[in-house]
């Protein structure tokens, strides 16, 4: 039984962000997409940029992201979100422009777009949801699928000889001079949720400084595709995904290269 005395507006310490709509999310129970949507909404609300933010949604489970965040959106063809975001930001440099992409979208069909947008140093934010699988289409292997990981198209586990190696997109774009902030986060515990939110906030704030592309990978779960219930899927992610996809900042121009960085923002 909830405590009626405490349930008063002045006692609220946490509630749903105003930037989130009241629509019920279509995501599977426990899917990381919902947590990341919430964090983006909170950052937009706290920065006061709801009317200045344009999202580009991908093809994948998050294709309907525009139903859940009450901002302006564009829907890109599969993998092409960085190209659309490039045009949008160049035409409207005072807007905050971000892409929201899964690993099938960003690392497979859209690999060229993301590499070149990052290499051009487009002044955009990229949110990359890496759940190691194609969720929407029924759990097929993605470029990011771990070696030995079972998917609908690798029923005996990913075999390097047949399927090649998993692709670390985040390490790849960190090498490019166009990126200013590259980090790998997760949202499986309250502490990592708070840390991830700070990273997303920084990635948005970088657009004010015009210092290049900010890239936030969120190592995620796809419990339906992995065929593991939500809580266990988070544990599986920690035990397996984190070994290959090391958590933390890969590049932060502000810290790594303060002199160059100053030159940049003058």
């Amino acid at each position: 039984m909830a405590d009626i005395d405490i349930i008063k507006d002045e006692n609220i310490v946490y509630k749903k962000s105003k930037v989130l709509t009241d629509n019920v999310m279509h995501y599977c129970p426990g899917c990381s997409h919902g947590v990341v949507h919430k964090l983006i909404a909170e950052v937009i609300e706290e920065m006061g940029i709801q009317d200045k933010t344009i999202g580009v949604s991908p093809v994948g489970c998050s294709v309907f992201a525009y139903n859940y965040l009450d901002i302006d959106w564009q829907e890109a063809a599969h993998g092409r979100a960085p190209a659309l975001a490039t045009a949008t930001k160049r035409l409207m440099p005072d807007k905050y422009v971000f892409t929201y992409q899964g690993d099938g979208d960003l690392a497979s069909i859209g690999a060229a777009e993301i590499i070149h947008a990052c290499n051009r140093g487009e002044n955009i934010t990229v949110i990359f949801i890496n759940n190691g699988i194609y969720g929407m289409t029924g759990g097929q292997m993605a470029p990011t699928t771990l070696v030995g990981m079972k998917t609908a198209t690798t029923p005996y586990g990913r075999d390097v000889e047949l399927n090649g190696y998993p692709l670390k997109m985040t390490e790849l774009v960190a090498q490019l001079p166009g990126t200013c902030y590259v980090t790998r986060q997760s949202v499986h515990t309250p502490a990592t949720v708070r840390k991830c939110k700070k990273a997303i906030r920084k990635a948005f704030e970088n657009q004010d400084k015009k210092i290049g592309t900010s890239f936030v990978e969120v190592t995620s779960t796809c419990n339906s595709g992995w065929k593991i219930p939500p809580v266990e899927a988070n544990n599986w992610m920690v035990d397996h995904m984190f070994k290959f996809y090391k958590q933390g900042d890969l590049k932060d121009s502000e810290k790594d290269n303060p002199d160059d960085y100053k030159k940049f923002i003058e």
């Binding site: 005395d5 405490i6 310490v13 129970p29 426990g30 949202v187 515990t189 309250p190 939500p230």
Partner: protein, 74 residues
């Protein structure tokens, strides 16, 4: 030392029963109900309401943002 008392309100009909809040709660307050909601999910509820400290951990990990958290000093 000032003590705090918290409580949560779960939007029962929107809950999908993923259980992520259950493991996120440091006080073991939350359980999944034996009954189901309109969508057929075992929704989250406060099994031990007296223990809630209003830390908001449960709400922060909730993918569907359906938990509101209240806190007051006692």
């Amino acid at each position: 030392m000032a003590k705090v008392k918290g409580t949560i309100v779960v939007d029962k009909e929107k809950c999908k029963g993923c259980g992520l809040c259950v493991v996120a709660c440091p006080q073991d307050v939350i359980e999944l109900a034996k009954e189901v909601n309109g969508k057929g999910y075992n929704f989250a509820y406060m099994a031990k309401p007296d223990l809630c400290i209003g830390c908001a951990n449960c709400a922060q990990v909730c993918p569907d943002s359906i938990i509101t958290v209240y806190q007051t000093k006692i």
